[in-house]
Amino acid sequence: MAIFYILLLFMIIGAIIAIETSNLLSSVICIGAIGFGASIMFLFLRAPDIAITQIVVEVLGLIIMIRATISRDLTFISGDKEFFGTVISVVIIFVIFLAGVQVFETLPDFGTPIFAETPGAASQTYIEEGLQRTGAANIVASVILDYRAYDTLGETTVLFTSIIGATVILRKKAKKLLEEPEL
């Protein structure tokens, strides 16, 4: 159990560094560190599919973000910070945090899954009858491709749409963008 606290502390420190530093490249690298910590934590939480997917997606995300920041203006934005707006935001976020911690008292303790407390949960059926009714030894694969295949169809559509959107936005620069931006 101690490993969970160590990894969570590592991720929180990484997040604080990524938020507060003024160099964009170092905050992108700190995001990579948070992703790797999350992947190790998924391994300890007994989720090997998720750990594999998180590591490879993390690497590609780093490549995309570095592509955006590497040759651009890396100086930070100075200027007058709005003091009043920052204080109000911090107070509201703190209040939400306290309310959330109260809500977590109603969940079962960390270590008992929710489906052990609820009778008739769907996960109980997936574990008991998964191999027999779908034939797949990997229960997670049988859930995403047989029991809940609609969600996978929706996810494919969302990925397709977002990639089309990114390709359309980044169409090859028209000649007029090399001139002065229009006023």
Binding site: I19, F42, N138, L159
Partner: protein, 118 residues
């Protein structure tokens, strides 16, 4: 207690996405929020001393009774698996918008992009 630390990570991402003025910092705040949510969902289904939800040869021959009583929850893992890949697609879209705005206005600062009315 681990739930509270995960929620603290989510709140840090929310603070970064709301308060910062640099566009890439806003994207970084959104990414931190996505990591925190995925982590929280997997933590909900954890069983102390449990095994991964994959049946191998030894468990198949020994009967599935022990596997049923000691496996972790497979449903949040299935939902988080698609969520991780979707977050990569949305990151690509956000970064392409940032690149386009930088090419047109010359800066990443959101207080200087005031010419939406053209």
């Amino acid at each position: 207690m681990p739930y509270s630390l995960c929620f603290l990570l989510f709140m840090l991402g929310l603070y970064c996405a709301v308060v910062k003025k640099n566009m890439v910092k806003i994207v970084i705040g959104i990414m931190v929020m996505e990591y925190a949510v995925n982590l929280f969902l997997i933590m909900l289904g954890y069983r102390t001393g449990g095994t991964a939800p994959i049946i191998d040869k030894g468990q198949l021959e020994a009967g599935t009774g022990q596997f049923i009583s000691s496996s972790v929850d497979p449903l949040p893992q299935a939902l988080v698996l698609t969520a991780i890949v979707i977050s990569l697609g949305s990151l690509a879209l956000l970064i392409s918008i940032c690149i386009r705005v930088y090419d047109k206005y010359g800066t990443f600062d959101i207080t200087q992009i005031r010419r939406l009315k053209g």
